[in-house]
């Protein structure tokens, strides 16, 4: 029986506009592009799953095809679903390690600096390359010591003094890799007289979806939805998220791709710059000192897909002494775990090259982007420091209470 609910492919008018904007199809002949891999072959796959072809794995789920499609076909969702539904289930240790960020994170933060030391050694990189097919040209992200969640306990009590409080969904990256960003979020919100509470969270599921662990992604989603419902507790409290991809998962991938009911939390969830922007518009603007910096701003694919770029840009424009140059919208290539895999490494590099060239020709003081994996990719390929918009505000704040300013 054909599932008549999932027929968005039927709206396809075969115009090939999606393929014209697919970054993967742009750089490799190995991928036939979203039109063919999505709506074209979906109608065959639902009749006969054996018609699945290997090339689906090249899709990096950037969603640029969906942005381009004039007929609202959920092309990338069709492809992710097909990868999961029809591909033979092969267990790959590497995909499991890269995508189970909670597990890897907990182990790595336990050992913190030791883990970082080893993963930066060339022989270790070669071993990872050889045994796990993790590209030796890439440096695995650095892990922090301990978790952000744990650190937060030390200042939990200070947060209870604020009348307005938001729930902060920090995501794996802040929890395991970059506590500084989490602290910046706290500083900035506190400077605007807003307190923060945390919630019990599991990995939002973005890397799980990309690596076809859809059942695990659904379990995490169910956990997060329940936990957020509890933290919201029937109030109108907002949930702010500092990772653009986590926001995308909570707001879009949960209901659309994973088919979870998010009606109780969806209207509460806000990407951090969208929340801050609205506060700014209500004249709740913290004191900022001029930065005297030139910055190039890169808009991550998932932030574009959810229409969030406008808020980041608006917030950044209000930082005194920040000369902002908007980069032409392009995928950086890394797409979460994609660019770390040996078989996609060259593709990821080729996709990003235009962006790196643009950045280098602008010669900014810093690069700004909302996504942690874009940050890794740009830092690996250009000589510039890459900051989250909130960290840039934190730098502009005078009298930073966690003493994080440069």
């Amino acid at each position: 029986m054909i599932n008549l609910e999932n027929i968005s492919f039927d709206h396809c008018i075969k115009c090939t506009v999606c393929t014209a904007y697919c970054p993967v199809a742009r750089v490799t002949h190995l991928y036939p592009g979203p039109k063919q891999s999505g709506p074209d072959t979906e109608r065959l796959r639902i009749k006969n799953p054996n018609l699945l072809d290997e090339s689906l794995k090249y899709c990096n789920n950037c969603k640029r095809c969906e942005i381009a499609c004039p007929s609202d076909v959920k092309i990338a969702d069709i492809i992710q679903n097909a990868k999961w539904k029809y591909s033979p289930k092969k267990f790959r240790l590497r995909d499991m390690l890269l995508s189970h960020t909670d597990l890897t994170g907990r182990i790595a933060t336990f050992a913190g600096p030791v883990f970082n030391f080893f993963t930066r050694l060339f022989p270790v990189k070669r071993l990872l390359d050889f045994f796990l097919n993790i590209s030796s040209k890439k440096t695995l992200p650095e892990y922090a010591r301990g978790t952000f969640h744990h650190w937060f306990n030390s200042c939990r009590s200070t947060q209870e003094d604020y009348d307005t409080r938001v729930v902060y969904f920090h995501g794996c990256y802040v929890n395991y890799n970059d506590h500084e960003l989490g602290k910046d979020v706290l500083c900035v919100l506190n400077a605007m007289n807003i307190g923060v509470t945390l919630t019990n969270e599991k990995c939002c599921g973005v890397p799980l979806i990309a690596n076809s662990f859809l059942s695990k992604a659904r379990r995490n989603a169910a956990y997060n939805i329940k936990s957020l419902e509890k933290s919201i507790g029937g109030t109108n409290r907002k949930v702010v998220v500092s990772s653009s991809s986590c926001t995308f998962a909570l707001k879009h991938e949960y209901p659309n791709l994973l088919e979870m009911d998010t009606s109780t939390i969806s209207s509460h969830i806000e990407y951090i710059t969208s929340y801050i922007c609205k506060q700014f518009l209500q004249k709740n603007i913290p004191d900022m000192k001029p930065l005297n910096l030139t910055a190039a701003y890169h808009s991550p694919c998932h932030l574009e897909r959810m229409g969030g770029v406008i808020y980041s840009v608006e917030v950044l424009k209000r930082i005194p002494g920040l000369e902002l140059k908007l980069l032409h919208s392009e995928c950086c290539g890394i797409s979460g775990t994609y660019g770390f895999k040996k078989e996609f490494e060259q593709i990821a590099q080729d996709i990003g090259n235009d962006l790196f060239r643009q950045i280098k020709s602008l010669q900014p003081d810093i690069v700004i982007t909302d996504c942690e994996t874009c940050k890794w990719q740009i830092e690996m390929n250009t000589p510039y420091e890459v900051l989250h918009p909130v960290s840039v505000i934190a730098r502009a704040l005078s009298g930073n209470k966690f003493d994080l300013t440069v």
């Binding site: 090939t16 506009v17 393929t19 014209a20 381009a68 499609c69 004039p70 209207s267 406008i310 032409h328």
Partner: protein, 428 residues
């Protein structure tokens, strides 16, 4: 979110309006759902191509005053010939700033060849489609070669050649056809029969195989003067590639529009978007404006599909959401709606009168004329008949014009976008 001007729909009309507003210092955001009609167009801008009954118009500017007189409700009649002239020249200048040159046959129309080998009148075209030198070459009964790329199934040179032959302008020309092949290093890369215009255009954009391709073109062309090839000479690097190919072959290389995606249209799209960004405009792609709220005859705020909880506000709003094809209007079984503001749409009540039974009827189809009616300032009317003062409509969403039968599509889109900006600048 608050900007001076929110433009809903980023096609040629919304972009022209946005560029003009941004250039005059207004903060502008364009919100656009999917890619616009340029991706499906010839990439040439039609101004006024046909008299009623399909007779071709040769000099549109000479005819415009009469046309306006006989079409009082046409968008052109709202702002007149001078505005149209200024708008087109402004449009050409803006695109030119991004390195894409547009040419017109002075104040007259020119023809371009379609992928079926028929001729269509248009007003502004890219260099590979029209310029004075090509026109002079065509006037001397030159030998013409129509050349495809092997494996590209959206183009049939023999069809183009045989239809051209039937045309009195070409029946004294020697026309040959043939196919070039992908450069050696590229063959086998992609399943050849899956090549679309965009795949070949990417190979050209790399700029690395031009010599090899030029050699092949020369061999097929023999002693022809003009080589017509499908429009796939790259998007970002096309000017350079075209002049290299012309130099290497000694031929006029002529581009023929293909099935979508239209590379000629995408060049225009790219130039316009990049000009808008240079001027500080923000282009939000992939989000649909779900609803606009009106209070005291003014748009109060709008919400989008992705952020339904956020009110976006601007001092001015422009609705440039295109026609049925782009979702600017939606047809239901017995009615036609404008989905964002529920504006009054002009259409005939009985569905049977919406279309002509003959697909190629010379008078076209009535539904082409359906659309949103506005006053002379391009302000539309809400469903109780009141004008909405801070909202302007431009482009294919407007009523009382038929882009296909009149050959006025691009001209209306450009001039009404330009004029909407004019009205906004006048008020701000």
């Amino acid at each position: 979110m608050n900007v001076d001007c929110i433009i809903i729909g980023g096609g040629i009309s919304g972009l022209t309006c946005g560029i003009r507003c941004a250039e005059n210092g207004l903060s502008c955001a364009i919100i656009s759902a999917g890619m616009n009609a340029l991706h499906f167009s010839s990439g040439s801008i039609d101004l006024l191509g046909f008299h009623p009954g399909k007779n071709i118009v040769f000099s549109p500017f000479d005819e415009l005053n009469d046309f306006i007189h006989s079409h009082p409700r046409h968008p052109y009649s709202k702002y007149g010939r001078n505005v149209i002239e200024m708008a087109l020249s402004y449009f050409g200048d803006q695109v030119n700033l991004k390195g894409l040159e547009l040419f017109s046959n002075k104040q007259n129309n020119h023809f371009h060849v379609t992928s079926l080998g028929t001729l269509k009148p248009s007003f502004l075209s890219q260099k590979s489609v029209f310029n004075q030198h090509i026109m002079e070459a065509f006037q001397n009964n030159p030998g013409i070669a129509i050349i495809n790329m092997e494996g590209f199934r959206d183009f049939y040179p023999e069809v183009v050649a045989s239809n051209l032959k039937k045309n009195s302008l070409f029946n004294r020309c020697k026309i040959v056809t043939g196919s070039i092949q992908l450069p050696d290093s590229m063959t086998g890369l992609k399943n050849n029969c899956n090549l679309r215009s965009i795949d070949i255009s990417r190979i050209f954009d790399m700029g690395s195989h031009i010599d090899e391709i030029a050699d092949q073109i020369k061999k097929i062309a023999g002693n022809s003067k003009i080589a017509g090839i499908p429009a796939f000479l790259g998007i970002y690097n096309s000017g350079n590639i075209l002049s290299r190919l012309c130099d290497l072959t000694g031929l006029f290389i002529y581009e023929i529009p293909t099935l979508p995606p239209s590379i000629l249209g995408m060049r225009l799209d790219n130039a316009l978007k990049s000009r808008f960004a240079d001027l500080g405009g923000v282009y939000i792609a992939g989000d649909r404006v779900k609803k606009g709220y009106i209070k005291n005859n003014r748009v109060d705020y709008i919400i989008t599909q992705n952020n339904p909880d956020t009110h976006l506000t601007g001092t001015f709003y422009v609705l440039a959401t295109g026609s049925f094809f782009s979702g600017g209007m939606i047809s239901e079984s017995e009615s036609i709606k404008e989905p964002v503001f529920d504006l009054i749409v002009e259409y005939t009540k009985n569905r049977k009168t919406w279309y002509s039974h003959d697909f190629f009827h010379p008078a076209g189809h009535p539904f082409f004329n359906f659309g949103v009616n506005t006053n002379d300032q391009l302000n539309p009317f809400d469903n109780s008949g009141k004008t909405i003062k801070n909202l302007y409509c431009s482009g294919a969403i407007l009523s009382h014009y038929d882009p296909v039968t009149e050959g006025t599509g691009g001209g209306v889109a450009v001039s009404s976008g330009y004029y909407a900006a004019d009205r906004i600048l006048n008020h701000s």
